[in-house]
Symmetry: C2
């Protein structure tokens, strides 16, 4: 049987600790050459559903043979780019029946080739991003780190908050977002959920002052981090390329990236255009900083490159591009748990395999 | 509902004429820039299932907006490379439960993003290859072509035979394969199926002598076509890169390729190696002939480049690399027919979509 899981199954089954543990194992495998992956590709055409809309079919894949799985993550998106104030926003349209989005992960067995599971990417997505950021702090934040400044209050920020506490014993949480009501609401909600005080701050500077770990998880299209935030011993991480500019990265003693390549490969049909700003900052960063030469998280986890070597260093982690490989690793745990728990909709695997040689 | 179709559904629903018609429309769209596609990528690791085995996750995609669909074709294969005589063969292992293979096409709506259908690739695969070769003969074979030489007797050859008859009125069929029992058996079986005489030949030379159309559909790892086969007015096509070497292509007055790029992109894990011969001939061809500069089938179908301009020209078509775009085009017809006929296993589309923004 092939399991079809939904986001509620993922929430019920998958703990952030599972995600961090399996990612740590998987990056080790990757560094030692046993894994393989393909960076994301975007195939894009003009969409007639709205002015300036595009339709994009995106995919990325990875194989983690020691975990016995491969995965391909596929997004089938209608995307608009409305101008909000001075900024161009990237908005996915829930155009599927019931106002839904289409993002799928297909998990395959490397032993038999068969499809083991299919699940939506929505719940795993922030968990693998936050799990990866948290894993990086294990190697890059100073020992005994106890204070965290969280910049941003969206769903990625929430996941970052849940993840960091499973790696460090944090006694001092601060949060900042540009909207006062967002940071106050977030602090109230999550103080209760985590059973610990989260302090909303009136400025980013107030939030980051003296913080051991700064987690950026914004939706900003501009640089967020500033050079004068940096203090000896600080670790700062980003989940989106414009958040930390080259100036700040160059000030760090140790800078680590998630993936040693630039933005996804892109193929366009006629008339399909993306706003210049989307992705351009990754190109700038790649050019100026040389992501190719930067150690990756896999290098750090495996010991191929040193992480933090003393408590006064300033470290940074650029978690700005995802990997299908992460979905393979996390998918292996999810699948095992779902099978053990007997949850999910099962369909005959024969429906998805064949006797014909393809 | 999302339809899960099987190969029997494909055989029941899809006629080769449907395939040729929709491909003709789709190549026109592609030439006019309304389609988009991503070439095949292979992610490959060493497999522990057998010595010299690999596990490969392959995918390619395409979007045909005027047909309202996109598709990604995914293969999850265990492949061995046994030495048979002097040659290294590439053998897919049916390792999925029930000795089955895993090759899937996911068809999405470009209007809503939702998954419309999932179907195995085994039956569509030879139809889209043969449909493409047959479509090319419409533009490249001489008018009134009536004789066909088929070289090869495998499943691809069978599909080529079925397809060519729907584009030209063929009165004279010849077949050759290196094994006498294969060509005799094939001729007997298909003479009966097509209700017309197919002549088994004792040599390739005998088969191609005076033929208007030569269809190569072999499993050969070496060149098959020879310069001295070529006669004024002949059209020759190949489905596999070693079949026609550069010397033969250079002798043709009009040479057209299916896809203007070389072999798939490849990412390897440590210890995963492919025999040198696999794919090397495409590299040689790309280098020597310059596939980039050659007109594509889309160019010919749309009139951007001339096809055959007089009856004495020798033409050739290199149908040696496939496209996910073909699966999108053919999938659009298959889906519509399946829906109209009410066949296939339907699962709720909600199982494969989500309210969470991915």
């Amino acid at each position: 049987m092939t399991l079809i899981l939904n986001n509620q199954n993922v929430r019920d089954l998958l703990a952030i600790e599972d995600v961090i543990d399996v990612l740590e194992f998987a990056y080790q495998e990757l560094a030692e050459g046993r894994g393989a992956l393909r960076r994301r590709s975007d195939t894009i055409v003009k969409s007639d559903t709205a002015p300036d809309a595009i339709y994009a079919l995106k995919s990325m894949d990875g194989i983690a043979p020691s975990l016995g799985v491969s995965a391909i993550r596929i997004n089938s998106d209608i995307i608009t780019h409305p101008k909000v104030g001075e900024n161009i926003r990237r908005v996915k349209v829930p155009a599927a029946p019931g106002n839904r989005y289409t993002g799928l992960v297909l998990l395959f067995s490397t032993e038999t080739g068969e499809p083991l599971a299919i699940f939506p990417d929505g719940e795993v997505q922030p968990m693998r991003v936050a799990g990866t950021s948290a894993l990086a702090t294990k190697y890059l934040a100073k020992k005994g780190a106890r204070s965290v400044a969280l910049i941003g209050t969206g769903w990625q920020a929430q996941a970052q908050l849940r993840a960091i506490g499973s790696v460090h014993e944090i006694a001092d949480f601060r949060v900042y977002s540009t909207q006062k009501e967002n940071r106050d609401g977030f602090a109230m909600e999550w103080s209760e959920k985590l059973g610990t005080q989260i302090r909303p701050c009136d400025s980013a500077e107030e939030a980051v002052a003296g913080a051991d770990i700064v987690l950026l998880a914004t939706n900003s299209l501009e640089h967020v981090a500033r050079e004068d935030w940096l203090e000896p011993g600080m670790h700062i991480s980003s989940i989106k390329s414009p958040e930390i500019g080259a100036e700040v990265i160059e000030r760090c003693d140790v800078a680590v990236c998630h993936v040693p390549h630039g933005r996804p490969t892109q193929e366009f049909g006629a008339g399909a255009v993306l706003p210049d700003t989307i992705g351009a900052d990754i190109d700038t960063l790649t050019k100026r900083i040389g992501l190719d030469d930067m150690p990756t998280l896999a290098d750090i986890v495996s010991g191929k490159a040193p992480g933090r070597t003393d408590d006064s260093q300033i470290t940074c982690f650029l978690n700005i591009l995802g990997l299908g490989y992460q979905f393979a690793a996390v998918g292996s745990v999810l699948y095992k748990k779902a099978k053990d728990a007997g949850v999910g909709n099962a369909i005959p695997t024969d429906w998805l395999t064949q006797i014909e040689v393809p």
